[in-house]
């Protein structure tokens, strides 16, 4: 067991993937000499060379578009988008080309591309550096969308994403980058990439989260436990496809569901979870599904991001509301 933060866990995961398969490439802005602005790719260019860890021109559409060509030639590019809000110049290539190639070619062409995106708030940044655009991608057939919440998942999920023959958008919770956890780097992954995980078993209400919000919910569960209320926290991990089996099981027991994410509320992941739980668990529900999310505004100036983002108290408030019915 090694104590690692998420940055280092992904770094070692990338290193393992580069070692395992010489077709794996890292590409993005500042990923080489600098090791990325968050140092996720630190030391990789030094050890694997400039042909495999590529400092690209500053153009996101170009990063994704050339990754498509490299993948068609048999490579497995891992693209870094420097910040969430900078993915949009590459959005067309992702949704129009990457997502559709396998489908439109009748399965002849595969694009094993991973697009890493540090996302979410809590870093006190200027505009375009704190966004949560995951629903845009999860809405697009042909993409797989996953996100990790802790170092152990980060380490395994990045390697599993790289091994997958489908394109994967890999969201990294940058507000939790320095969260530490124990990782057995020589072990085996406990779960398939596309499985949700019960992060904390509980009996009274179900709280579903992913990425940076998982820690918020675990903190809320600890506080609720002090008040004698037992929350079950489920980490979705995969947003497309959604694995809600554990959520259905949980809601059938608790009858109460709160969904938490940093992304804006309307038409978000929470809405989809609520719809599906209503379809599957209608007679088990004791209360309407509650959502605790960012508000339907652009991401605000950093001095008010604490109020914009879901926190422990807002999660507990929502849990209380489910008991008010």
């Amino acid at each position: 067991m090694t104590s690692l933060n998420i940055i280092k866990a992904i770094n070692i995961g990338l290193r393992r993937s580069l070692e395992r398969d010489d077709k794996v490439l890292i590409m993005g802005e500042d990923v080489g000499k600098l090791g990325g602005v968050f140092r996720v790719t630190d030391g990789l260019q030094k050890d694997f060379g400039e042909d495999r860890v590529i400092d690209t021109p500053l153009a996101e559409s170009g990063i994704i578009g050339t990754a498509v060509g490299l993948a068609l030639r048999g490579y497995r590019p891992v693209c870094e988008i420097q910040f969430d809000g900078f993915v949009f110049p590459g959005y067309d290539q992702i949704v129009s080309q990457v997502a559709k190639m396998h489908f439109r070619s009748g399965g002849r062409l595969r694009l094993p591309i991973v697009i890493r995106i540090p996302y979410g708030g809590r870093i006190g940044a200027v505009e375009h550096h704190s966004e949560s655009p995951e629903a845009y991608f999860a809405h697009t057939p042909g993409l797989k969308v996953v996100t990790c919440s802790n170092p152990l998942d980060a380490y395994w999920m990045i390697q599993q994403a790289i091994e997958l023959d489908d394109p994967v958008v890999f969201f990294e919770p940058k507000g939790r980058y320095y969260t530490k956890g124990e990782v057995d780097v020589d072990g085996e992954p406990e779960l398939p990439l596309e499985s949700a995980r019960v992060a904390l078993p509980g009996a009274d209400a179900t709280v579903v989260a992913y990425g940076p919000s998982v820690k918020t919910c675990l903190d809320a569960a600890a506080a609720a436990a002090d008040d004698g209320r037992s929350l079950e926290v489920i980490d979705l991990r995969s947003l497309s496809p959604l694995d809600l089996r554990a959520v259905y099981d949980s809601v059938r027991r608790t009858g109460r569901l709160v969904v938490v994410h940093e992304a804006q509320r309307s038409l978000g992941i929470g809405a989809e979870v609520a719809a599906r739980v209503t379809e599957e668990c209608f007679y088990s529900l004791e209360a309407p599904v509650q959502r605790v999310t960012g508000y339907d505004t652009p991401y605000p100036p950093a001095r008010v991001e604490e109020e914009f983002l879901p926190d422990l108290d807002r999660v507990l408030d929502a849990v209380d509301r489910t008991f008010a019915y």
Binding site: S61, L70, R73, Q93, R104
Partner: protein, 380 residues
């Protein structure tokens, strides 16, 4: 002859590489003659055949669209020489990234034209094998494929498949696009990328003067080939209606790429004689006189005139090619009409490499629903 520049000042017309005049006269060229010195009478006859077959496939497709057999067709009429000349410069290992109009390139590459019809009929979205033919699927989002070509070329570099001197190993990549595409960010990013990494890619721009209704001056204030200089690689303008010049210029650009000398921009100066697609009506935005002017520069007639002038072919040859084209058209008509519609549930097959549980459930739901309709039908 002069052209007006943006500032309104006159300057000599940019050099246009031409080896065959519109009248079919072979004009010598100090540099490019050497690049087609190996071309025999058989080769010229074969180029002519590809031009005629390309035009015939296109004409048949337009007719099939008019008869309701295709949903749409993007005609290549007038651009046969640019496509055949450039395509015939390619080697088997070179990889091609086309737009949705490169039907004659596809034909030269051995792609069954029925597969092109299938796409425009709406039975699939590209059913030829891009690996086997080295001819990628058509790309409809304007300019997106130039980045794919550049990335593919980066892969060729990493595979060590340039600069070895082995003619069967060294490979180049060619990206086709039009004048309108040169305004796209992706194309400009591809130029930058290819230049910076010295990618073995040829950017082949068919400047057909029109981006649907928008004339070239909506896209640029400088001749397109000159843009290459700003990106740091050579640009050349070739008479796009001259198959020999297109062959020579593309051969040189491809060989530069295979030799590891980096990208080239080729601007094939041509004219879209037809509509943008079968839904377009060019009479709303351009004068018929312009079309009449370009008809005099027809890419097929000049090769025919050259062959007659040089005694490279007799009437039997021309008749035989016509007959072959007619047989191809008859075959295409029948094959197009016989293309089966896809089964509705097939839409779930290739969203991912393995279908997700959600997709399996949706496929099941669709099947149940469609079966219930069929049962109702039987009950009636």
């Amino acid at each position: 002859m002069t052209v007006e520049t943006a500032a309104g000042a006159s300057q000599p017309e940019p050099e246009l590489v031409q080896l065959l005049t519109p009248e079919g006269q072979r004009v010598p060229h100090d540099h490019y003659d050497a690049l087609i010195a190996d071309i025999t009478g058989d080769d010229v006859r074969s180029l002519y055949r590809d031009l005629v077959l390309g035009r015939r496939v296109d004409g048949e497709a337009v007719a099939l669209q008019r008869q309701g057999e295709l949903g749409l067709w993007a005609s290549l009429l007038g651009q046969e020489a640019a496509q055949v000349g450039s395509a015939r410069a390619l080697r088997a290992q070179d990889h091609i990234f086309p737009t949705y109009r490169e039907h004659a390139v596809a034909l030269c590459r051995g792609v069954d034209p029925v597969r092109l019809l299938a796409l425009f009929r709406g039975v699939d979205q590209g059913s030829w094998d891009p690996v086997e033919t080295n001819f990628h699927l058509y790309t409809i989002v304007i300019g997106a494929q130039t980045l794919h070509a550049t990335g593919y070329a980066m892969g060729v570099q990493r595979d060590g498949a340039i600069g070895t001197g082995d003619p069967d190993r060294d490979a180049a990549v060619i990206a086709y696009f039009g004048d309108g595409a040169t305004s796209q960010g992706d194309v400009n990013e591809a130029f930058i990328w290819a230049s910076v990494v010295n990618a073995p890619v040829v950017f082949f721009c068919q400047n057909n003067q029109w981006a649907i209704s928008e004339p070239l001056e909506r896209q640029t204030r400088v001749p397109l080939y000159r843009r290459a200089a700003g990106f740091g690689f050579p640009g050349v303008r070739v008479d796009g209606n001259d198959v020999l010049a297109c062959l020579a210029v593309t051969r040189e650009a491809l060989q530069r790429a295979r030799d590891g000398e980096g990208p080239t921009l080729v601007e094939a100066f041509t004219y879209r004689m037809g509509a943008h697609t079968t839904t377009d009506d060019p009479t709303r935005y351009r004068l018929n006189a312009e079309l009449e002017h370009w008809k005099l520069k027809d890419p097929i007639e000049r090769v025919k005139a050259y062959m007659v002038r040089g005694d490279l072919a007799d009437q039997d040859f021309f008749d035989a090619v016509e007959e072959e084209a007619e047989e191809l058209a008859v075959h295409l008509r029948a094959a197009c009409r016989a293309l089966p519609d896809p089964t509705p549930t097939s839409i779930f097959d290739h969203v991912y490499v393995e279908p997700t549980p959600d997709l399996l459930a949706q496929r099941e739901a669709m099947t149940t629903y469609l079966d219930s309709l069929a049962e109702e039908e039987v009950a009636r």
